[in-house]
């Protein structure tokens, strides 16, 4: 009996971890290419969550279907933001980029508070209470769909970077910016593309995660921190690392919630972060720091 509980909680944590992974993937793509750390990551995610909630509440549109349009919208927003706002800051010191994105984060989190109010909002789908029984294992249907959706989006992104010429160009740009310029790539446009793709991940992840989590404005900063913990655990700039880190943190949080109190769960995520920074600062999948 008790072993079943652990297994069930572990599977739940793993599926949530996949969504975390998708969110962190966005951060990792942006940092890996543009070398700017998006300190407004979680805040942008809450915007996607609210969009999904509105679309569901007003038009009955399922968040899993709305994932695509929201991701496209976020891509466009990210593309424009990189071109207009962030590009001038690329050569400036790190702390200036930090303050710039922090300002964006402050505007978003409080804008969301003004528009939607402080109360938690949620999506009640028709399949909210369904579950699948596989032997002794009971899997929550919502979590399963959500986790799979996150996996599909992440795979699509992996395929894009692996096979599409444009994806290869972005990787070339991330590897060696001068080299990319020399062979005639439009680095500025590729940066904008990467930022757009990073935000598309966030948009999709936000639309998916409303199925599992209620959205409130303070969730933004919490998710920003979580995304950092994940990408650093997995390896900043490494795409597979982000997914692995997401699953690891998802599992850790679920287990900490089971063994200790749920309120202390992020302490364990931070403990993992500290351990990783100590013994493998480049992260699980990251390349050796120069």
């Amino acid at each position: 009996m008790s072993a079943d509980i652990y297994l069930n909680v572990a599977v739940g944590g793993l599926l949530t971890g996949l969504i975390y992974g998708l969110m962190a993937l966005g951060l990792s793509v942006i940092f890996g290419v543009v070398r700017v750390v998006n300190f407004a990551h979680g805040e942008m995610m809450t915007v996607a969550m609210y969009l999904a909630v509105i679309l569901f509440a007003n038009y009955g549109l399922d968040p899993l279907l709305m994932m695509l349009p929201i991701a496209v919208l976020f891509f466009v927003a990210g593309y424009l933001m990189q071109l207009g706002l962030i590009n001038p800051f690329i050569t400036r010191p790190e702390y200036m980029q930090f303050i710039l994105l922090l300002a964006v984060a402050i505007i978003i989190v409080n804008g969301v508070l003004i528009v939607f109010g402080p109360d938690a909002q949620t999506v009640q789908t028709s399949y909210a209470f369904d579950s699948f029984a596989i032997g002794p294992l009971i899997v929550d249907a919502t979590k399963l769909y959500a986790g799979l959706a996150a996996l599909v989006v992440a795979s699509a992104l992996f395929a894009f970077f692996r096979f599409a010429p444009l994806g290869k160009a972005v990787r070339a740009c991330a590897d060696n910016q001068i080299g990319a310029l020399v062979v005639g790539l439009n680095v500025k446009r590729l940066y904008a593309l990467s930022f757009g793709l990073g935000l598309a991940c966030v948009g999709a992840a936000g639309a998916i995660i409303v199925l599992v989590v209620d959205v409130t404005p303070p969730l933004g900063p919490a998710y920003t921190l979580l995304a950092f913990v994940i990408v650093i655990t997995g390896g900043l700039g490494s795409m597979s690392g982000a997914l692995i880190g997401g699953v690891l943190i998802g599992l850790t949080e679920a287990m900490a919630g089971l063994f200790f109190t749920p309120s202390a769960k992020s302490m364990f995520a931070f403990a993992i972060l500290v351990l990783v920074l100590l013994f493998r600062p480049q992260g699980i999948m990251g390349q050796k720091l120069s």
Binding site: L100, L113, P217
Partner: protein, 340 residues
């Protein structure tokens, strides 16, 4: 020492500095209670910003977790006072000691293993968050329910127990700020200060010149955390209540660093001017919004964010460097101004 303090400062700069100081000392004579609390807040951020500036502005290590040192200082002094009746002046050295110990742990872990830049910043956030959640579950220190210092109506200022009127706290924080300023000024021209700046500009080059970078980066975090702890003691006795959710909240760390960044990172006057601008702006916005009956929660912070955005876009080096040129205070060599 006085000579060393003043040897290359232009005369009109000294007059200006003296004028500002006299203005600040005389301020309680003219300011009403509200203005006085705003001034206390400004000086508090000027002080903590100065302390943070040592680590980031002088030695180039971006800490986003300075609320940890404030919080530890506050909790240690408050716990000693509440549980054992030990006054703040005895609690202060203990608070500094514990704060420095935590700074030493973070610094040792980070600098030993070559953790720098963004990674160092995240590590400092992680420790602060760790403390926040940890203190939430520490019953002895009040847990998430908060810790309260006994408050009674004090007409007499009790400097020894730090119980009394805002005016006392004002002069206390003013004294702290002036001391921090002088200390930073001296450090910038000391051997250590030049080593720090070398590390900030190019750590590899500094090491190849024979500077023990690990030792001096450790020195920076130790001095910075030691200087931040008294601000915590002040915070505890001024506000009389401590909640982990508030004290160690990441926004507290960010508020500390906004002043120096707006004012000019690595400059002496940056943290002070930045604190005046950002806190003044924030309070003025609040007044303006209440005046027009626009009291939606969050509205103030949206404006705050927009102002921040504009400032970083227009003034990449902060307010102080262009202001210094305007006032022709561009004395001597460019030792304190950070070139991008």
């Amino acid at each position: 020492m006085i000579g060393r303090l003043l040897y290359d400062v232009p005369r009109h700069a000294l007059w200006l500095l003296g004028l500002v100081l006299v203005g600040l000392i005389a301020a309680p004579l003219f300011a009403n209670d509200y203005l006085l609390t705003v001034l206390i807040l400004i000086l508090y951020f000027a002080y903590t910003g100065q302390a943070w500036n040592i680590l980031m502005g002088f030695a180039g290590q971006l800490s986003l977790g300075h609320a940890l040192y404030v919080g530890l200082g506050a909790y240690v002094a408050a716990a000693l006072y509440v549980h054992y009746g030990i006054g703040p002046w005895i609690g202060l050295p203990v608070a500094i000691l514990i704060s420095v110990a935590s700074g030493a742990i973070i610094g040792f872990l980070a600098f030993r293993f070559g953790v720098a830049g963004v990674y160092f910043a995240i590590l400092t956030i992680a420790f602060c968050e760790f403390a926040r959640i940890g203190f939430d579950h520490l019953g002895w220190l009040g847990g998430s329910g908060g810790m309260f210092l006994p408050v009674s109506n004090h007409t007499q200022n009790d400097l020894w127990h730090l119980r009394g009127q805002p005016v006392m706290f004002y002069y206390l924080i003013l004294l702290l700020t002036v001391l921090a300023f002088v200390l930073c000024h001296l450090m910038l021209r000391s051997r250590v200060g030049y080593f720090w700046q070398a590390i900030r500009e190019d750590e590899e080059a500094a090491r190849s010149l024979g500077i023990a970078t690990f030792r001096y980066k450790m020195a920076a975090i130790l001095v910075s955390s030691a200087m931040t702890a008294p601000a915590g003691v002040f915070y505890a006795f001024y506000y009389n209540n401590l909640f982990p959710e508030q004290t160690f909240f990441i926004l507290r760390s960010i508020e500390i660093i906004l002043g120096p960044i707006i004012g000019g990172v690595g400059t002496l006057f940056g943290p002070v001017i930045g604190a005046f601008v950002i806190t003044g702006l924030s309070e003025a916005l609040q007044e303006l919004l209440t005046l027009y009956g626009f009291d939606t929660p969050g509205a103030k912070r949206v404006f705050y964010g927009v102002c921040l955005l504009v400032v970083v876009m227009v003034l990449p080096n902060g307010i102080w460097p262009p202001l210094a040129r305007l006032l022709r205070l561009g004395r001597r060599r460019d030792t304190t101004e950070r070139q991008p």
